[in-house]
């Protein structure tokens, strides 16, 4: 599809695409969580996104706000751990910021900002704490910058995905200050954060969904 108009159907494709990508990355995410966490991030996210897909298969809301609310509530009630409330909040807030009908690239950026702000409000993480935030904040910034610079949605999302992946990679040297990894202190350095990795995957899936 092309990026001009963002429909609920497109957003649903994005979510389903993320579910598929998580299924593929499940073991990698769990392996990352084994190194600095408790070896369940991939398992948790996969369980949650499978439930989301089932939910959408059963009945898929026709507007973005209700769609993302369904996604968020499902994650909150199916994932548990830190990932559940945080990703749940991300989708809930995204939906709450979305217009009832089809939206523009700028609307999308606004929704992403709201989503990231929601995750920060929930988890109290600052940039550099070695969390999802380290992938999400750069992504949101890059998206705005690219759109402001006149790129189409597809190119802008690609830039956002690149920024997210770079942000995830940049968590490697960080010493975690939030989440389970923080218990390791210095030992948390040298490993990429699993949540940042799954968040980068989420943005990459958006870029795959909307291409110019």
């Amino acid at each position: 599809m092309t990026g001009a108009e963002i429909t609920a159907g497109g957003v649903a494709d994005w979510v389903r695409g993320f579910a598929a990508a998580v299924a593929e990355a499940k073991d990698e995410l769990t392996a990352l969580d084994s190194a600095i966490g408790d070896a369940d991030h991939g398992i948790n996210m996969h369980r949650g996104m499978q439930a989301v897909v089932q939910k959408l298969d059963a009945d898929q809301p026709g507007d973005v706000p209700s769609l993302m609310k369904a996604v968020g509530m499902t994650l909150i009630s199916k994932v548990g751990g830190a990932g559940g409330p945080l990703y749940g909040t991300l989708f809930l807030k995204f939906g709450q910021a979305a217009p009832p009908d089809a939206m523009t690239p700028d609307d999308f950026a606004t929704c992403l900002d709201a989503a990231v702000a929601g995750v920060q409000a929930r988890g109290k993480a600052e940039p550099g704490d070695k969390t999802m935030i380290d992938a999400l904040l750069p992504a949101a910034a890059a998206l705005r910058a690219a759109l402001g610079g006149g790129s189409g949605l597809g190119a802008a999302l690609a830039a956002a995905a690149d920024a997210a992946e770079e942000g995830a990679r940049d968590t490697i040297p960080l010493v975690a200050r939030k989440g389970r990894a923080s218990y390791l202190g210095e030992r948390s350095a040298g490993h990429q954060d699993p949540g940042a990795t799954s968040s980068a995957l989420l943005v990459r899936c958006a870029a795959r969904t909307w291409t110019d």
């Binding site: 600095i36 369940d40 909150i76 199916k78 548990g80 923080s182 218990y183 390791l184 202190g185 030992r187």
Partner: protein
């Protein structure tokens, strides 16, 4: 992975069915969402004491549901905190009108999910107070981090606060007592082996035949540092000294000494560890009033142990001795 299981994804559900069948006199189990409540709940006029967390720590928490301890426990997936709907439904199920105390171990996931549940319960105008336990001295604490983990003290808090609630103490009093127990207790743990999350299928970390992890949590996380294996007497000092210094415990203090098995370490070794611990405490003039030795807050089949010391006042001792009747802890009944 060598486990007595069927489908790795069904472990918690199937074990819960076995648990329900084994203890119908003590507990009722709800399967969707998953929670365990006292068979006689809600107890009218009594504060409900609720806890929960990932599975894989058995007997904690489900094994502590019963008279004189927990009214409800919410089991998550293995090592994954439960979801808000579990705590929300369980809170409603055990509210006897006097409100419900949530005892939450300090992990981001547990804290966030319990927060959401408390918000939902309050919307139904159920009084909820949450106390977060964070007794693990292995974790450097700071304003900017997630803080310390809740470990061994959680078991002691559930017993002591459960007894207070049974006595009819009100929500505020139970919450204060729980905070006091948490404030007076410190823990540290170590691992001889890793453990395997069923759904992951392989050990969370690899340890050499002559290595151990010091300062581990209860989720198979690696600890603060990896060292080469030592005699029990040295390991006990590595755990006990930081605990003693952190509170700090002073000569003349009266404590409950809790030697906990991580799941794969036999009782024989835990008693040997307790023998070493007594000597260290004696050197510091710390008096052991009560002891608890066994696997009570475990990390699946991990081999290792943790030590928890709780400075007890007379009230805590009385409440510790009060009758308790649960699948995992029972006396006076």
């Amino acid at each position: 992975m060598k486990k007595l299981i069927n489908d790795p994804g069904a472990v918690v559900d199937e074990a819960l069915r076995g648990f329900a069948a084994a203890h119908p006199d003590l507990v009722r189990v709800n399967h969707d969402p998953k929670y365990i409540v006292r068979a006689d709940s809600p107890v009218q006029g009594k504060v409900g004491v609720l806890s929960g967390g990932g599975s894989g720590h058995e007997p904690m928490h489900g094994g502590f549901v019963g008279r004189g301890m927990l009214d409800a426990a919410c089991p998550g997936e293995v090592f994954t905190s439960p979801t808000p709907d579990q705590m929300y439904e369980a809170t409603k199920a055990v509210d006897g009108g006097a409100g419900v105390l949530h005892i939450v171990k300090n992990y981001t996931g547990d804290v966030l999910n319990f927060e959401m549940a408390a918000d939902m319960a309050k919307e139904e105008s159920i009084q909820v107070e949450a106390v977060v336990t964070d007794d693990d001295v292995a974790v450097q604490d700071s304003l900017y981090t997630a803080g310390r983990r809740g470990v061994g003290v959680t078991v002691l808090a559930e017993k002591i606060v459960g007894a207070a609630a049974e006595e009819g103490k009100d929500l505020a009093t139970c919450a204060d007592l729980c905070r006091r127990v948490n404030a007076e207790g410190r823990s540290m743990g170590m691992a001889l082996t890793s453990c395997t999350v069923p759904a992951a299928g392989k050990p969370t970390f690899e340890l050499g035949d002559d290595e151990m992890e010091i300062g581990i949590g209860i989720h198979g996380e690696p600890g603060r540092e990896r060292r080469s294996l030592e005699p029990a007497r040295d390991i006990v000092r590595r755990l006990a000294e930081p605990i003693l210094q952190d509170l700090p415990f002073a000569s003349g203090d009266r404590v409950l000494a809790f030697v906990n098995g991580m799941g794969g370490t036999p009782l024989l070794e835990l008693y040997l560890v307790y023998n070493e611990l007594r000597e260290v405490l004696a050197e510091h003039g710390v008096e052991v009033m009560r002891s608890l030795i066994g696997p009570y807050i475990t990390s699946l089949e991990m081999a290792g142990c943790s030590i928890t010391l709780l400075r007890m006042d007379d009230e805590m001792i009385r409440l510790w001795d009060a009758p308790v009747h649960t699948p995992g802890l029972r006396w006076g009944a």
